[in-house]
């Protein structure tokens, strides 16, 4: 521990951090928590009395249906991103050091164009006379164009496309650190490829897998613009509901209740993540 020559500096910095976090992080979240127990008011958005009605409303069948739909979409997206991203990152992490950064940069580059525009471009790929249908028709695999746009499938494609980098980056951070000599040692001792993969690579990268899954799963529940652009009028993600409650229906309490439930869910996932034995800053290093 150091002695602090000027404790004024220390005090000022700490006050600043606590006030900043208090006002911009804790206060807003506490307000939402409070709002979720209040009653809707047409003029002031919120009013007393306190009640649990908003949480009871979450079990409404129409809402439950969307929750189930959104969770299925999210799970599908996460599984797909993991299945595609894991082998991809394994290969990237073993490229020689000079080129690795370049390959990683190539993952981030698409972010520099607006994500709305990139998702919008998917329309011209998935539409009735879009690229996919044109190609499939030309090679004679289908007789009439498939309906891809404005379906759950289109939203799934958009989500995977938007979120794949969020799976790859945390995976990269852990896979890159795996000591090659451990794997070689296992090989020398007679372990097969499958054994090395399941007994060494996967356990050593587990925290990255959990981090990547969280960073894909949660946004896949909430990115309403992907569903807006590709999913048509149907509501397919939870995020759309939360947004509508706040902006269209002006029903803050229910919107807040959904948001609080989502936060609780996230905290549970984070707990799992910290248990998986890593700290977030490690997977963030590469940024």
């Amino acid at each position: 521990m150091h002695k602090t020559p000027d404790s004024f500096c220390r005090t000022a910095v700490l006050y600043f951090i606590f006030i900043w976090l208090g006002v911009m992080v804790f206060a807003p979240n506490l307000l939402v928590l409070l709002a979720s127990f209040l009653t809707k008011d047409a003029e002031w958005y919120l009013r007393l009395p306190l009640n649990l009605q908003n949480y009871v409303a979450l079990t409404d069948t129409a809402l439950l249906e969307i929750i189930v739909k959104s969770f299925s979409l999210s799970i599908a997206t996460t599984v797909f991103c993991l299945l595609v991203g894991y082998p991809f990152t394994c290969i990237i992490a073993r490229i020689s050091k000079d080129y690795r950064i370049l390959f990683l940069m190539l993952i981030i580059v698409p972010f520099w164009t607006n994500s709305l525009v990139r998702n919008y471009a998917l329309i011209s790929i998935l539409s009735k006379d879009g690229f996919i249908n044109t190609i499939l028709l030309k090679i004679g695999l289908i007789k009439s164009p498939l309906v891809l746009l404005n379906t759950n499938f289109a939203v799934f494609v958009g989500m995977c496309y938007t979120l794949l980098p969020f799976m790859i980056l945390p995976l990269y951070a852990v896979l890159e650190k795996i000591d090659r000599s451990v794997i070689e040692a296992a090989r020398d001792l007679g372990a097969g490829s499958a054994e090395v993969f399941f007994k060494i690579t996967i356990p050593l990268s587990f925290s990255g897998i959990v981090a990547g899954c969280i960073m894909v799963f949660l946004p896949a529940l909430t990115l309403f613009y992907v569903s807006d652009i590709l999913g048509g009028a149907d509501i397919s993600v939870l995020g759309t509901i939360i947004r509508n409650k706040f902006t269209v229906d002006k029903d803050w309490p229910i919107g807040a209740a959904i948001s609080v439930s989502l936060t609780v869910f996230m905290l549970l996932l984070l707990k799992l993540y910290f248990k998986s034995g890593n700290t977030v800053e490690e997977e963030r290093q590469l940024w």
Partner: protein, 256 residues
């Protein structure tokens, strides 16, 4: 040999899939159709349209101003937080630390609504200030984590030695810490800029017509159909950022 080729093919396919929408978006900026979802012959009119369409251009400029300012602010706040977490032991350190991970992991929509609820309750009018504060809040943890990782990698005795030789906290920060963490600070800035300029969800809640940034402008156009001049704008922005990053990468390398 076959294995190597298959690996190469796999990597190539993933990159191809990631880049196809981007390429399509850029190609469609040359399409001679009213709405940017079909190809209808080559034209460059959308580019000339863009530079006369001050509305769209202004939204882009606002976006760049906002992203630059919030990246700078996040860098300052994030670096201070990182140095404090590294250098001081204090009550609530763990809370600060874990709230950073919570901010990074929490869905944007949760952050967006909690911030807008607070702004409305406090009576802060939505617009530039609320956007700037909100963007700073969701970007600064990335700076903190990057800088903290860098700080952990170096010898603490350096600071102790300086301290013993009579350096004040301010001296230590200026003469030792800042030169050490500059690369991490720069990376954090870039990260914040990238996150801020592409943010849709949080801006949707805390933004307002009074300071309409590009993602909000485009989002409002989605319902009626995006015109190719938006694609043209994105292509221009893309190449500008691309070359800016390449240039800064080269400059950093030369410095080293």
């Amino acid at each position: 040999m076959v294995r190597k080729f298959l690996k190469f093919l796999y990597i190539l396919t993933v990159y191809l899939v990631l880049y196809i929408p981007l390429i399509v978006a850029i190609v469609l900026s040359f399409s001679n159709s009213e709405i940017s979802d079909t190809w209808n012959g080559f034209t460059t009119k959308w580019y000339s349209n863009l530079f006369s369409n001050s509305d769209l251009l202004q939204a882009a400029i606002r976006s760049i101003i906002l992203a630059t300012m919030s990246a700078c602010l996040s860098t300052v706040v994030g670096t201070i937080t990182a140095i404090a977490l590294h250098r001081y032991k204090f009550i609530g350190q763990k809370v600060v630390y874990s709230s950073l991970s919570v901010i990074m992991m929490s869905p944007e929509i949760v952050q967006g609504i909690s911030l807008v609820v607070m702004f409305i309750v406090l009576g802060v009018p939505l617009g530039f200030t609320t956007l700037l504060l909100s963007h700073t809040v969701f970007c600064f943890p990335y700076v903190t984590m990057t800088v903290l990782a860098r700080l952990k990698g170096f010898d603490k005795q350096l600071i102790e030695a300086a301290s013993d030789l009579g350096a004040t906290d301010v001296d230590i920060v200026r003469k030792i810490l800042i030169p050490l963490i500059i690369p991490a600070v720069f990376a954090g800035w870039l990260m914040s800029f990238t996150l801020s300029i592409d943010d849709v969800v949080i801006s949707y809640f805390v933004g307002d017509k009074s300071f309409e940034i590009l993602p909000l402008k485009i989002y409002s156009m989605v319902q009626t159909g995006i015109k190719p001049d938006v694609n043209a704008l994105c292509a221009v922005l893309f190449f500008v950022t691309f070359f800016a990053v390449i240039l800064s990468y080269k400059l950093l390398k030369i410095k080293k």
